[in-house]
């Protein structure tokens, strides 16, 4: 037998790398819809790109110009609520390392998520029945809260998914080894020399 020890080869991608990937993709996503007003001010080619980006976001947002933020007289590619959600998510991603330690993988209590969803739902309902002014501020604010809360559920989940187990050998089944061996395995000490018979 070769002297190689059989051990479980667990590749744990560093949390920092996974976090960096999430931050990069979120930034890219936000830049994509914010870039539309800038591109719309440019030449024919950049305006065509702006049109393609607008169509890209069309399946997920109504994109009504009256309900969107404007920059240089051109609206963003998504509405104010979606801007709030994505902006909030970005803020949540940026705040995550400060508020939640790297190694704390658990997601927060579901009550926080339910509260954020209900808050957005309540805002939609109240603005529909004209109990609150239908302006961009309540939409963006409730969207921002929902987005930032979502970040604290998404990031730990991605951390959990990133722990790729490269299954070299299956784990030693504790039922198949003697209690004595299990004790030495747990204590990580060398077992005493076998008594001479």
């Amino acid at each position: 037998m070769s002297g190689k020890k059989s051990k479980i080869c667990t590749i744990k991608i560093g949390h920092q790398w996974v976090y960096g990937a999430i931050l990069f993709s979120t930034l890219l996503w936000c830049l994509l819809f914010i870039s539309v007003p800038f591109l719309a001010c440019g030449g024919p080619f950049s305006r065509k790109i702006a049109g393609i980006i607008t169509l890209f976001f069309a399946p997920i947002c109504h994109q009504s110009a009256e309900r969107s933020f404007h920059l240089m007289n051109h609206p963003f590619a998504v509405c104010a609520r979606c801007t709030g959600i994505y902006g909030g998510f970005l803020a949540g991603v940026l705040l995550y390392p400060a508020l939640n330690k790297w190694k704390k993988d658990a997601t927060p209590s579901r009550g926080i998520l339910i509260g954020a969803i209900l808050l957005s739902g309540l805002e939609i309902l109240l603005s529909r029945i004209s109990l609150i002014p239908a302006g961009p501020l309540p939409r963006v604010l409730t969207g921002f809260i929902l987005g930032s809360v979502m970040a604290f559920y998404v990031i730990p989940t991605v951390f959990e998914l990133a722990k790729i187990q490269k299954g070299a050998k299956p784990k030693i089944n504790s039922e198949n080894i003697s209690p004595k061996q299990a004790f030495w395995n747990e204590s990580k000490l060398l077992p005493p020399k076998a008594e001479s018979v």
Binding site: R47, G51, L55, P59, A65, H74, L113, Y153, T157, E160
Partner: protein, 173 residues
């Protein structure tokens, strides 16, 4: 080995719901609210998976994310098939009114958008290139939002019994 229930069946059901709700006219406008139907499909997949778990077993959010992701992928594939079925056999053009509203709303970009929309109106939607682009875009969107739905579902259906069980085992140790 852990005996976990299959993720495929809940994902297929979630994906079918996403496809039907995203393809049926008028109802599909619900997706304009942050991909509502796609998120709902992910949550449904997560819920169905949680139901299959033995009582007291924990429901990790990563499992919910995988079910949601698969639901989104199936939803995009079935949805594209359904939409092209509608176009080819029923002569229905999905999103005509929607594109009209988009053109009226986005007047600043209307010449550029009109070119694209006119091409789609003139039967361009049936071209393999457009079908492929549509499939890629919906795959990306549905995968992202389906995963988010799955994570939301896992967070909402966190098994209370499992956390109690864990606490008890910790205490007994």
């Amino acid at each position: 080995m852990e005996n976990k229930p299959s993720k495929l069946v809940p994902a297929l059901i979630g994906g079918t719901v996403i496809a039907v709700l995203s393809a049926v006219p008028i109802i599909n406008l619900g997706n304009c609210l942050c991909c509502m139907w796609v998120i709902l499909g992910g949550v449904l997949g997560s819920y169905l998976y949680a139901r299959e778990l033995p009582p007291g077993d924990p429901f990790p959010s990563s499992d919910g994310a995988v079910v949601g992701l698969l639901s989104g992928v199936f939803g995009a594939l079935f949805g594209t098939f359904l939409i092209y079925f509608f176009i080819a056999f029923l002569g229905f053009r999905p999103g005509q009114e929607f594109f009209q509203n988009l053109l009226e709303s986005r007047r600043d970009l209307s010449p550029e958008l009109e070119d694209l929309v006119d091409e789609l109106r003139a039967g361009g939607a049936m071209r393999p290139f457009f079908a492929f682009v549509w499939l890629v875009v919906t795959l990306v969107m549905d995968a992202i939002f389906g995963t988010v739905g799955g994570i939301i579902g896992a967070a909402l259906m966190k098994n209370k019994g499992s956390s109690d069980k864990l606490k008890k085992t910790k205490k007994s140790k």
